[in-house]
Amino acid sequence: MYTQALDAPQTPSAPTDEDERLERFQARIDADEKIEPKDWMPEAYRQTLIRQIAQHAHSEIVGMLPEGNWITRAPSLRRKAVLIAKVQDEGGHGMYLYSAAETLGVARGELVAQLLIGRAKYSSIFNYPTLTWADIGTIGWLVDGAAIMNQIPLCRCSYGPYARAMVRICKEESFHQRQGYELMLTLARGSAEQRAMAQDALNRWWWPSLMMFGPSDTDSVHTAQSMRWKIKRFTNDELRQRFIDATVPQAEYLGLTVPDPELRFDAAAGHYVHGPIDWSEFHAVLKGDGPCNRERLAARRSAHEAGRWVREAAAAYAEKHAGSARAAQAG
């Protein structure tokens, strides 16, 4: 998931002599064949995937920050262990995804550099602050829950390395979602103060979670081409609806109120109908004016800068000892 910001439409501009290759490529996609790194692919397909996978990878890495914010304050040793493991899993997801992007011919360093200069997008959800312990449960429950809705179809994405990375990531995400929900359940069954903490977190995270699916289908410029290429299998609105249908009963079970006065169940359609989403907030956060955009990027830059001398030392050491390693191999 975390790819709501796919920007300008990429119009595949195939030269005439490539028409036949394009047709063959599309026929393979239509036959549900996986595209592998060494296969021919249209440049626009490659660029769309690089952008999408890199955004996903950056989101995992930036996503370590809001949750990492509570590692030192987790209220029990078990919760602390679970949270460390979760944040570490996100780092692991970032790593597989950067590797998947590298199979498309772009280096991890280049992608990270784009993030640090503010040119690459990552999921806007991580530009919201984690203010209380209940936010950790809510991120697991809602944010990972929304991520799973988006990611499960990606396990069948036409690009092999991305699809395979997603299989493993989805397993871990669904584990995180259950842990988050279990945390919320503990708060919801706890003291009045704990219940209030849980409700406050739901109030703050509900709408941003719905925005994670990206703009409404009528405003989403990418959907059609991405669906033709089977990079995307469902539209933003379809996925958002599934998420709402799955999540509202979970909130009810917790005894919490979804902060949408217009929310109602349409029995005939078998779906929940939600109130209007404030897309001006979505666009503001996307543009850099969310509550924590500056802090998140500053934290990534500061880690990168503070680590520079360490990476240089490792490279210098490897360089110095490369000769002796080669000699040992030769001998």
């Binding site: 990492g68 029990s76 460390i84 780092g91 880690a303 001398w309 990476r311």
Partner: protein
């Protein structure tokens, strides 16, 4: 050796065992708390993942040890009561563990000196007469071997890397070396635990620690700082100013909302 043939040993008191297990458990807990704060801020993604692993191992050791300490004490305190509801003066961790993360060189030097001590201690404790402690040590020693490989590997790369990395790691070593006095100077409790067959022989730990650390320093092209007497020992509850701040942050939720489950 049959129990009858075993040489007569002094029996350790429950108070001694409680204090001793706290020394181990609190050291792992405080080190895990320090490393946990670094997650997401490391010099490279690979180091973030490794540091997360080490923090998790240490936290796992702390949970087993604090639960054991609670059982020995017999006053109904579990791992969380011990972690979240004691003040700094009741913590028994080595003061080295509570030293701030600093730059990557300080983190690595702190971990390296501590890892060597934990590795040798648990190696020895795996043969402890206290079966529960021996079981925990047996698991911990495998983890500590990996921790040592990571920290000593970085000590060498930083020491023998660039001029800057060498300067930084040397400064970190100078800064933190005084806290090794506590790791290696046995006090009366360490001595009683050794005599009762529960704890390791202090001289053995010192010798093995010295050998291990000296070899890593030599490979890292670092000189060993002069050993100074530094008698303010965290293991007896005398800490540096850093521990109070660490605990204020770590214990905030259970203190602000007493008596609830999380």
């Amino acid at each position: 050796m049959s129990p009858a043939a075993e040489p007569a040993r002094a029996t350790a008191s429950a108070e001694d065992r409680f204090e001793y297990v706290l020394r181990l458990g609190d050291t792992s807990l405080i080190a895990a708390q320090r490393l946990g704060a670094l997650l997401g801020h490391g010099p490279a993604l690979e180091e973030d993942l490794a540091i997360g692993n080490i923090a998790l191992d240490l936290l796992g050791q702390a949970r087993l040890l604090l639960a054991l300490a609670g059982r020995i004490e017999g006053r109904g305190r579990d791992e969380d009561a011990l972690a979240f509801l004691r003040d700094a003066g009741q913590f028994r961790n080595m003061a080295l563990a509570e030293q701030p993360d600093g730059d990557f060189a300080e983190t690595i030097v702190r971990q390296c000196l501590l890892d060597a001590w934990q590795l040798e201690t648990y190696e020895s404790l795996a043969g402890s007469r206290d079966r529960e402690l021996a079981d925990i040590a047996e698991k911990a020693v495998k983890e500590c071997r990996y921790h040592w490989r990571f920290s000593a590997g970085w000590l060498v790369r930083l020491g023998d890397g660039t001029t800057e990395s060498h300067t930084r790691v040397r400064a970190a070593l100078e800064k933190l070396w005084r806290f090794t006095d506590e790791l290696l100077s046995a006090d009366a409790l360490d001595a009683r635990m050794a005599v009762s067959g529960i704890g390791p022989a202090p001289a053995l730990i010192r010798e093995r620690w010295e050998t291990r650390v000296s070899a890593a320093l030599a490979e890292a092209k670092l000189e060993r700082p002069a050993q100074r007497h530094y008698p303010w020992h965290g293991k007896r509850g005398v800490h540096t100013e850093h521990l109070g701040h660490l605990l204020a942050e770590m214990q905030f939720l259970p203190r602000a909302y007493p008596g609830v489950s999380w």
